[in-house]
Symmetry: C2
C-alpha cells in the first residue's frame, strides 16, 4: 500500500513505487486507495547526464544524450499518460486518477549520487558538472482528449495543490536551486505526447533567464528600494489597457514589452516568492482566472493555441525578497496558419522583434466571448 | 545611371534608387552597367516602429506591427528576390545579378529622422524608444532553386566582399551600435521566401546576447588578461575531437557546449573584431571552408537542413578588443522528421537541454563524403 498524507483543500497524496524504482504520487480528493502495482518489467535507468559550460555566455547547457530516443507522438491507444487498462500498462498503474506526479522516465536532470557540487566557472577550462536536478511529469486528468482549459475548477485546485506540494518537497533537497513547473502544449512547439500534462524541472543551478531577472531586480532594488515585479504590476494596473482578466486575488495582463504575439502574465495581487507561499485564499481564487485566461487564448482564433505556460518563481535559496511568483503563458501562434519563429535576430542575437502591439492582442483576448 | 565604386577581389558596387526611395546595391565582377530602372508604382513606406523595454530583464523589444502583413511563402513565379523579367517586376530591376543588397521593404528597424537617442533605462517607467537601426536584404544568387552550398567559390567571395562593404558603411552611421548579417534557411524556422538570401540587421542598441557576451568577455579579460574567444578556439584546437574542417586561415568546430543538435562555429585563425577587419588572405580562404561546412551539414541526413547562420562580430563602438568575429551555424534538425524545439526549459528559463553530445554530431559531420 502507498503512504498517504493530507494536504490543503481536501487533497490527499499517496505515494507508490514504480517497478523501476521511480515514485508516483497520486493527488486525490475522493479517498481512493491507490494500491495498484506497476506490473511492467523492470527497465534499466538511463545514466546521469553532464553539464557543460558555454564559456561565451557563462551558461550551463545540460547534455542529456539518452533522451534522443524518447517516445515521440504515440497514438492515443499507446499513450503512456493514460491510466492503465487491461491491454496497456502505462506510467500510471491505477485505472483512474485525478492528478498524478511521477519521476520522468527520460529526465534531463537527475538527483546526484553522494556528495555533489558544481565546478567553479573559469571560462573554457571549466570542468564538466553533473546534470543534477530532478524532472517530474504532472498529469492534469486521465482524459486524453482534454486540455487545461477543459478541467473543472475543482481539478485545477487539486493541480495547484500538487504543484505547491512539489515545490515544498523539492525545495528541501540540497542540490536544488530553482524550480520551474511548466506546460508545453501543441505539436508546433515540439510536444511529443498530447495527453494534458506538465513538467516540473528542478535545477541544480540558476537558469540563465532567472539569473538575469535576479540581477536586474537586485539593481532595481538598490537604486529605487522597490521590488521590480511589484512596480511592473502597478504600472500594468495603472495603464489598464493591457489587462485581460482579474479577480479578487489575481490579475492577468499582456505585458507592455511582450515578446510573443500572445503573451500573458498572471500574478497574485498579494505578491509572494513562490507557489508554496500562496495563501489558501489566493490558491482558491486561481482556478477561475486560470481557466478564463486559457479559454480566452483558445478563443482568439477558435483553434487550440500552441503555448508554453511556465511558473516563474524566486529561486529556492537566493533572491527570495527580489523575485515574485507569476505564471507566464506565451504562444508562438500569430495567426491561423502562421507561427512566430525565433530566427536570426531572436536566436543568434537575443533581440526580439514583435509583429504585433501588445495592446492589440490584449484587446483580442478581452473580446473573446466566454460561455457562462 | 548608378554610381559605381571599386572594392577588393575585382568587385564593383553600383547603387541605384528604387521607386519608393530605397537603395539597391549591385556587387559585380563582370562589369555590368546596372542601368535598369525600378518600374513599379510608388508605395507608401511603413512608419518607424518603437522599442519597448522589457523591465524584468532590461532588454529592448522592437515593435514592428507593420510586419504582420508581409509576404508569406510566395510561389516561385512570384518570388520578389528573382531578377525582374517581362511578367514580373521584382525587388531587383535588372534581368540578372550576382549579389545584391537592398533596404528591406518591411524593416523591423529603420534609420531615425533627426536627433535621436535611446531613453535611459529606469525600470517599468522607461520611455518608449524609436526602433532605430537598419534592415537590409542580401541576395546570394539570381537562381531561385539554389542554396548557399551550391554557390561557386567565386560567388561566395563576392558575397563576403558585399558583407564587408556593408559593415564598413553601416559602421559609419551614428545611430548604429551593432551589426549582424545572418541567413535563415528552411520553412521549419519560419523562412517566408525560399530564394537564397540573407539579412543584415543593424541595431541602435546592443542585442541582449551580445551584451552578455561582452560582459562575460570583459570579466574574463580582467581576471585572466586573455581574450575569451581566443582561449575558446585554443581549447577546441587542443581537444581536436570536435573540429570538422580547417584550412590555412579558418577553423570550423562543433562547440564544446553546443545548444543545438548541429551547431558549428567557423572562426578565422587570426582573430579580428569584425568582417571589415578580415585580411584579403583570410577573405580569399573563406569560400572553401564555408562551402565545405554547408555541404557537410546537408550531408548528415542527405536532406536540406533548416539553419540559422549568423555572423557574430564585436559591436561597432565598444568591446572591439574583447569580442571576435565568428560565423555561427545552428540547425534545429535533430533527425529526419524531428526538430529541436525551444520549449519550457529553453524558452521560459533560458536553460538549454541538448539531446546529443557535440562529439557525436562532430563525428557525423566529419563522416560526410564530399564530392570533389
Amino acid at each position: 500500500m502507498g503512504e498517504s498524507k493530507r494536504l490543503e483543500a481536501g487533497v490527499t497524496r499517496t505515494d507508490r513505487e514504480m517497478s523501476d524504482g521511480r515514485t508516483i504520487r497520486y493527488y486525490d480528493t475522493q479517498g481512493h486507495a491507490r494500491s495498484a502495482a506497476d506490473k511492467r518489467p523492470i527497465e534499466e535507468q538511463p545514466g546521469i547526464g553532464e553539464l557543460r559550460l558555454d564559456p561565451l555566455v557563462n551558461e550551463w547547457v545540460a547534455m542529456a544524450a539518452h533522451r534522443q530516443g524518447r517516445i515521440f507522438l504515440p497514438p492515443k491507444e499507446l499513450c503512456p499518460l493514460c491510466p492503465t487498462h487491461s491491454d496497456l500498462l502505462t506510467e500510471i498503474p491505477e485505472s483512474d486518477y485525478e492528478v498524478v506526479v511521477f519521476d520522468n522516465r527520460s529526465p534531463s536532470l537527475r538527483p546526484p549520487v553522494g556528495d555533489w557540487a558544481l565546478p567553479d566557472l573559469v571560462g573554457p577550462d571549466t570542468d564538466t558538472g553533473t546534470s543534477a536536478g530532478k524532472c517530474e511529469v504532472i498529469c492534469f486528468t486521465p482524459d486524453h482528449g482534454q486540455s487545461f482549459k477543459d478541467l473543472s475548477p475543482e481539478r485545477v485546485r487539486v493541480l495547484l495543490e500538487a504543484w505547491q506540494d512539489r515545490i515544498r518537497e523539492l525545495s528541501q533537497k540540497k542540490f536544488i536551486e530553482h524550480i520551474a513547473p511548466f506546460e508545453n502544449r501543441g505539436e508546433e512547439i515540439g510536444v511529443t505526447i498530447s495527453h494534458p500534462h506538465g513538467q516540473i524541472y528542478a535545477y541544480s543551478y540558476l537558469p540563465p533567464r532567472v539569473e538575469k531577472m535576479l540581477r536586474v531586480a537586485r539593481e532595481y532594488k538598490e537604486s529605487t528600494g522597490h521590488v521590480l515585479f511589484d512596480d511592473v504590476v502597478a504600472r500594468e494596473i495603472r495603464d489598464e489597457i493591457r489587462i485581460i482578466a482579474r479577480n479578487s486575488e489575481w490579475i492577468a495582463f499582456v505585458p507592455y514589452a511582450s515578446r510573443y504575439p500572445y503573451e500573458i502574465h498572471v500574478a497574485p495581487l498579494r505578491p509572494v516568492a513562490d507557489l508554496a507561499e500562496l495563501s489558501p485564499r489566493a490558491a482558491d481564487a486561481y482556478p477561475e482566472i486560470a481557466l478564463e485566461v486559457m479559454k480566452r487564448l483558445d478563443g482568439v482564433f477558435g483553434i487550440e493555441m500552441a503555448y508554453i505556460a511556465a511558473w516563474h518563481q524566486a529561486p529556492v535559496r537566493v533572491g527570495r525578497d527580489l523575485l515574485r511568483l507569476h505564471w507566464q503563458i506565451t504562444s508562438v501562434r500569430r495567426a491561423p496558419g502562421k507561427l512566430k519563429y525565433l530566427a536570426g535576430s531572436e536566436s543568434a542575437m537575443g533581440a526580439f522583434i514583435m509583429d504585433m502591439r501588445p495592446e492589440q492582442s490584449a484587446e483580442q483576448l478581452r473580446a473573446v466571448k466566454l460561455e457562462k
